[in-house]
Symmetry: C2
Subunit: 395 residues, 2 copies
């Protein structure tokens, strides 16, 4: 691990522009916010200002040149907190064009904010008692359904042998489906189904709101026996995911809502592997949901592969997380996903499963069978308990 | 005001694509997240799913066609809270390409989350006692300076007659300049200068961190006599600005850090007037900082004009806010800014003022003189007190 924060930027410039100057301007913009000539205290170059570590020319196309620029920042400028880290990462330069963050490394000194998931993929497998095959997840939908309807879906999916049931990420605390009613009924339905099957299917309600609402929702859910939640870090604020993961040792499934402007143009923003992969994992996501290639969104197969790698590859002191390809996946995609993602992955099939037949439990059985036909499932007794403030069980 | 949330999307499509279908897909994606054929409960069309209200063809260019699409959403889907509103606004569709939000209207039923600034431009003028000219603001910088150095800058700017001093938005709670030391010393310096000048220059420290840190910072600042803060809604989470503005009736200056991916490509994201204008104002910003055209970022003059208009135009029940053009502005830009923005604006001149001469108080006097040469300033006794929980003064 480096001693400084190291960030790799893919930069696209007019061929007549000066890349050395452009790179130095990034380093100044993200720290002191003054031009080079105005740095009167020379110690700032050592203590504060980003340092251009490398500039590698890449291909040229017509009048534009591509470069890979590596800049290092002293960890202290990131203030040991998530929002100021993101500010150094991409605060002001998000307002400049044609700068894309393609990878980064953080020093051990930022481990407090970047300790990663509580459970990670191994811990989640222990909770479920499911090994050597991808996990199967679905979404409760559509928005507008009553708690009863959604609880019946949850029950059917659990009876059919699925692993994780999440709320659709648009389910909030709306009058047509209040949070507490929904969570109470869905968790109860899953508990009953689990008692019948002897398995431990997990239900992840969606938590959304300001910090007071989200904390209240998480605590309520835990009291109902919930062991994980769905969360959209860019809607609620990325620091709140880190805060929750530090305080409540349950599982966190991260949703990419409101992140998409980073991926619209490959010359700007952050690579999916950086934002939905490494950053979400470091913030505490045990599972990161993303729009799979070939679905109704535009990620390429390569981008999805890099994203999965960013979630799973070894990182000192940080557990691996599950990729969850989604966004219009159906059972016909299992073959391709099996080839692309291997075993440590969560298949998230929502609408397609719900509409596969009139019988969701039966459709789930077919879904599980399709997975088992490609992997040798190993089941064990679900293990592990939710520890809250050192005590087992409830808050 | 409409009864539903109405959103205008500029859509760019391949000329052979079906715009009716594309528009309907937006309405489905942002609510029920299932294809049309899977909406089995027909009441969802009335209660939940967005409704395409209008499709207006715009210009064609080569193989692409442009459209303006208006979609209405029942307010209940936004759950009467900021994050879920943003989710309906641009959550999943941010992950699709070539969709840009160019304007929107919210119904009165969302007034709880969209009540706007506490003071607005009129209230801020009363606090300052400054009328009929633009306000003059500067930034304390560079990051890495000691609290003493920044306090000396604050003192000089106040003695020179400036109106608002803000921290650079990269100043957090770093070891080289701890938040409490900085805020204590800067506010004290400004208080002393105010006692000497008889004016009321305001100091806005930057607050950043998770919600616990930010709340602690705001309360500490208020106890030191601070009457406003700088805040980056996209770093700390937009809901936290709304939360703070509801709880602490001080002034909020919003900074655009981390919003820039919305503006990189004019075919995607949100128009600056939508995000930095109307949304930030509705969330509670009294002042919205943005990168002015002709500075070191890429907004056009038209975009800046529309942004200023979005902050200032009448909106039922919501006070007007100040635009604060910034990002590399110098005294040589005052003439142009005077023509472009008129009187109700905050000129934010940071580095250029600091480096104008060796004497910041003198540079500030020249800055003020340049403003007064173009506007007929009217000064009054600063009025108004900070009310916290119904009590005047401290928390």
């Amino acid at each position: 691990m480096p001693e400084w924060i190291e960030i790799d930027y893919a930069v696209t410039l007019d061929k007549n522009s000066n890349i050395e100057r452009f790179a130095r301007d990034i380093a100044l913009e993200q720290t002191v916010e003054v031009p080079e000539t105005c740095v009167t205290d020379s110690s700032l170059w050592e203590r504060v200002i980003g340092r251009v570590l490398d500039i590698a020319p890449k291909e040229k196309e017509g009048n534009t040149s591509h470069y890979l620029v590596k800049i290092g920042y002293p960890p202290e400028v990131a203030g040991h907190q998530v929002p100021q880290f993101l500010n150094v990462f991409f605060g002001n330069i998000s307002l400049k064009n044609n700068i894309r963050i393609v990878s980064f490394q953080v020093p051990e000194s930022l481990a407090k904010i970047f300790k990663g998931p509580n459970l990670g993929s191994d811990g989640l497998r222990q909770w479920l008692g499911v090994y050597e095959r991808p996990l199967a997840a679905t979404a409760l939908k559509p928005m507008g359904s009553s708690p009863q309807t959604l609880a019946a879906q949850a029950r059917a999916f659990a009876l059919g042998g699925g692993d994780i049931i999440k709320d659709d990420h648009g389910l909030a605390d709306q009058a047509f489906c209040p949070f507490e009613e929904r969570v109470g009924q869905c968790q109860e339905a899953v508990d009953k189904a689990n008692a019948a099957t002897g398995r431990r299917t997990l239900y992840f309600p969606n938590v959304v709101g300001d910090h007071e609402q989200v904390i209240r929702q998480v605590e309520f859910a835990i009291r109902q026996g919930v062991r994980g939640v769905l969360i959209s870090p860019f809607l609620i604020g990325p620091a709140l995911l880190r805060f929750l993961a530090s305080r409540y040792p349950i599982a966190y499934m991260a949703h990419p809502a409101f992140t998409g402007t980073h991926f619209h143009d490959r010359r700007h923003g952050m690579a999916p592997a950086v934002l939905l992969g490494k950053i979400f994992r470091l913030l505490g996501a045990d599972i990161s949901v993303f729009p799979n290639s070939g679905g109704r969104f535009g990620f390429t197969q390569d981008e999805c592969g890099e994203l999965a790698q960013a979630l799973r590859q070894p990182l000192p002191g940080v557990k691996p997380a599950f990729p969850a390809p989604a966004g219009g996946m159906g059972m016909d995609r299992i073959e391709t996903m099996a080839e692309q993602y291997g075993c440590d992955v969560v298949y998230l099939i929502g609408g397609a499963l719900l509409n596969h037949s009139g019988d969701l439990a039966e459709s789930t059985r077919l879904f599980m069978q399709a997975i088992r036909s490609r992997f040798t499932e190993r089941l064990a007794s679900p293990a592990g308990t939710v520890m809250i403030n050192g005590k087992e069980g409830l808050v």
